[in-house]
Symmetry: C2
Subunit: 276 residues, 2 copies
């Protein structure tokens, strides 16, 4: 039986308006972009600042209640940080919501926005205004609460470590000791909604430029693929293990291959339908 594909609700602040055929709302696409992004940009309003805060942070989506959940399922975002950082302090101080028969409770937690962007290529067209990137970007909006349950905290620490290098949790000294558990806070973000915006394909130009034969003979147009590479591991000063671990080499080669294949081949294919 075909599964129903879950989508996030289109709120006025989450809907892709400009070039809206690039917008995506299904959970699987959005969660996939977030979980494969090595750095998220997390934004919130600090009452002492006239400007929003934006922090680069490491995070990962998953379900503590149902660890086998897939990318297309309802998931929470887990972020980790230092216990007394501004974000953690704000999230701890954020008042819990209380409901009454007359006023339904607003969601509890600090409102957060999380953004993830992969650049897959430079798209060079005939005129600067038609230049673009191939990219996959996602944005999530949610409410953050510090995780207080020890089992959930440990599970989230493992989830985040495994997202950096699968196999590393078991490959290093675990579990965290009491001081480490105390100094690290984990935030759980309940997602309210989100969206993704994706560009793939080759350059596009306006008809009047495409009809200009002299221009076509002068200006090279195409895509320069862009991708992140993990280079040869460099042992640190107190390393005693001669051989780089198999799980690390396997991950490095797999990821490098996947990133390159995506940027050089898949991201350059024209989407089947330009309109959604």
């Amino acid at each position: 039986m075909p599964r129903q594909e879950l989508e996030y609700p289109k709120e006025p602040f989450s809907t892709v308006k400009r070039l809206n055929d690039r917008g995506r709302y299904n959970l699987e696409t959005i969660h996939g972009i977030i979980n494969s992004c090595p750095m998220l940009h997390v934004s919130f309003q600090d009452p002492i600042s006239p400007f929003p805060v934006v922090l680069p942070m490491i995070g990962q989506m998953g379900s503590f209640e149902r660890p086998s959940a897939g990318l297309g399922d309802v998931l929470d975002l887990y972020l980790h940080g230092y216990v007394s950082s501004r974000l953690m302090n704000l999230a701890r101080q954020y008042p819990s919501s209380t409901s009454s028969p007359d006023t339904p409770a607003p969601p509890s937690g600090l409102p957060l926005t999380i953004s993830a962007t992969h650049i897959d290529g430079l798209v060079l067209s005939l005129t600067p205004n038609s230049h673009s990137y191939n990219y996959r970007s996602a944005i999530l909006f949610g409410h953050a609460i510090p995780v207080t349950s020890v089992p959930e905290k440990l599970w989230a620490m493992e989830l985040i470590t495994e997202s950096i290098v699968p196999g590393r949790w078991a490959g290093s000294r675990v579990p965290p000791n009491a001081a480490e558990m105390q100094s690290t806070s984990i935030l759980r973000v309940r997602i309210a909604t989100g969206s993704a915006k994706i560009r793939t394909g080759t350059p596009h130009d306006d008809r009047h430029d495409l009809d200009d034969k002299m221009l076509l003979e002068r200006v090279w147009t195409g895509v320069v693929p862009a991708y992140q590479v993990l280079g040869e591991p460099v042992a640190g000063p107190y390393n005693k293990v001669e051989k780089v671990p198999g799980y690390l080499e396997e991950y490095r080669l797999d990821r490098n291959g996947d990133n390159r294949q995506w940027a050089e081949v898949d991201a350059i294919k024209e989407p089947e339908s330009k309109a959604k």
Copy 2:
């Protein structure tokens, strides 16, 4: 005569508190991180949204009044976008500040926060809590106003295009026509302050783990360099120029070499002094 190095003021919301030896305030370092980052994350508060907005955008710092200004000079940030995008509409609607003898004018423009992050390596230590990235991140806070002067707008369009591939402005169809000038807006952000946070070097672990001989014999520690690569250009469907232009190949090879050198060599060197 040695030049004075300019620094941004340390405001409560812009000061690096956690691991503050990684904080930097000098304009040259911060502007260098912003201008070499292929994608910026721009945040602002939309009155219709309970969450801050975060948009991936292309931008570049420069000085229209003094185009020869260096990275260490006072610069503005220029962002480009579609004329009727939410950000451009908000910036246009933002009330101009008026001053009176009693109340000095606040800065005009929409408050924006701009974040740029480069990941230079995975830092794998003995225990998950000591894992880190080598990274260079910068944040700027400022006020955005749409550019209305045509010469400044054209200058900023060229600045932004040249930041994607130097030589591309002259290598494509310029100047923009009337429709292109109308559909593209440029924002100028006057910077109020900013900071950078940088980690370089090898893994660090706590004494009690470093003293554990069995642990040292079991866990590989070191750095996995990470860097972006621009791959072989792929010609688009209406390209008629057989040879990839020299300026593009030169830029691609230079940038790939610089990125790799930084991640594999320079970012792994221990900083001379851990404390600032």
